[in-house]
């Protein structure tokens, strides 16, 4: 796997056992990552950097971002 030093890749938590989780990077293959740095549940999406989950992704916030972007674009269009 490509190792970019400041890149983190989203993955879905499939199972957790202590500090180790099996995750799916979207390719259907399970990989093991360390989850000592985050509090996760099965089904969560996490950002994985160099084998370690560094943050839990917030699906609600992701949708909110898209809504906000649309708002910005629409409001600005109307204002012109």
């Amino acid at each position: 796997m490509l190792m970019n030093m400041c890149l983190a890749i989203p993955a879905k938590i499939m199972s957790v056992k202590a500090d180790t989780a099996q995750v799916d990077f979207g390719e259907g293959v399970l990989r093991e990552v360390n989850v000592a740095l985050v509090k996760v549940n099965v089904g969560d999406y996490v950002l994985v950097h160099a084998g370690y989950a560094i943050q839990v992704l917030d699906e609600k916030e992701a949708l909110e971002t898209l809504r906000l972007w649309n708002d910005i674009l629409n409001v600005q269009t109307d204002a012109r």
Partner: protein, 366 residues
């Protein structure tokens, strides 16, 4: 992933580009600086600069953690191999030039240098070969340093030590903002380092320097919106700290990761390749973990290395003072196949990204 599709909508990108054109100052130049190799990749790969007005420039700061490792620390890693220590490192580090040679050169001459995907691989190797001495060359910004800290906290085997080269990004941003000839107007703060450190460390740039600062994600729309948010702040003359990457970055960051880092590391002044000494910018192991310190365990220490080789302009590229194409060696003497400067080595180095994306034959002698 569906995320990619949602955050790469080309129609929306065109819209944002229009908004950027509408809100950007008409005459004066705007210079926005990012400090992340992955941002540079997104910007270059998706041609984001071509969507911006001519007077809006986005420059790449010292965002490649491999490029800024000083030669002296590469030399120390090579010294370790000469003491029959197996050095484990990330792949990008292998070809970074030291004062005279790289770890790859050392490996070619028989040194035991092994590429790992994560620090956990180094721990596993040390456990599998208990009679061999190992060192993990711990390079990286705040995104990477928590993983090193986690493994040290878990008490790795005694035959593994750490050459800690972790650097902190906000002190480098402070150096940039204080460079008068750089004349910056705004920061795109690094998304993934910010998942760890949160937003607070950037407050100083707004409060003390009046610098619009936006933490942005890595999809092309994230970056475009980040630029738009900065320009909007400039337009309103209201510099603020904003978070575009809310799906991954919280105000407080990853508190657990911060606690682990503070448990293991002290912050000291550190040398950065091309930038010199930056106050409070480097992690070092706390005294109680000194047994894991490669310097102490194996007596390696290099005070001064040769960071910039003759003709190389990495020190100017790394702060965005020149573009890679303005370096006389770019794609001539210095290519991805045969790099001279560190910026051409790492997949996140600005020169390497430009070389790859420019789609120019790296061996062409033009």
């Amino acid at each position: 992933m569906t995320e990619k599709l949602r955050f790469r909508n080309p129609e929306m990108a065109k819209h944002v580009a229009e908004k950027i054109k509408a809100i950007a100052p008409k005459e004066e130049n705007v210079k926005i600086c990012h400090v992340c190799g992955t941002h540079e990749w997104t910007i270059t790969h998706f041609g984001i600069r071509s969507l911006l007005p001519n007077n809006v420039e986005v420059i790449a700061g010292p965002g490649c953690p491999v490029c800024i490792v000083p030669a002296s620390e590469i030399d120390e890693a090579i010294q370790l191999t000469s003491k029959d220590v197996t050095v484990t490192c990330f792949g990008d580090v292998l070809r970074v030039p030291g004062s005279a040679t790289s770890l790859l050169d050392a490996k070619a001459e028989g040194a035991d240098v092994r590429v790992v995907y994560s620090v956990a691989d180094a721990v596993r190797m040390a456990k599998e070969e208990p009679r061999r001495d190992f060192a993990f060359f711990a390079v990286g910004f705040e995104t990477t340093s928590p993983s090193t800290a986690v493994e040290i906290l878990a008490k790795p085997p005694k035959n593994l030590c750490f050459l800690v080269s972790h650097r902190l990004i906000p002190p480098a941003m402070k150096l940039l903002v204080e460079m008068e000839d750089l004349d910056l107007n705004g920061f795109i703060a690094p998304g993934h380092a910010s998942t760890i450190i949160g937003l607070k460390p950037y407050e100083v740039f707004v409060k003390q320097y009046g610098m619009p600062t936006v933490v942005a994600g890595f999809e092309p729309l994230d970056v475009l919106f980040g630029i738009y948010m900065i320009l909007k702040q400039m337009h309103a003359h209201e510099p603020r700290l904003e978070n575009e990457y809310v799906r991954a970055v919280r105000w407080e960051g990853n508190v657990r990761a911060q606690e682990v880092m503070h448990r293991i590391f002290d912050v000291v002044d550190g040398n950065w390749r091309g930038l010199g000494l930056i106050p409070s910018s480097k992690f070092t192991l706390k005294k109680e973990f000194a047994a894991y310190d490669a310097h102490r365990k194996h007596g390696v220490k290099v005070e001064h290395g040769v960071d910039i080789h003759y003709g190389c302009r990495c020190h100017l590229v790394v702060v965005g003072k020149i573009k890679p194409t303005e370096c006389p060696l770019f794609l001539k003497a210095c290519t991805p196949h045969k790099p001279i400067g560190a910026c051409m080595v790492s997949s996140e180095g600005t020169c390497r990204i430009w070389a790859r994306t420019a789609n120019i034959d790296p061996d062409a002698s033009n």
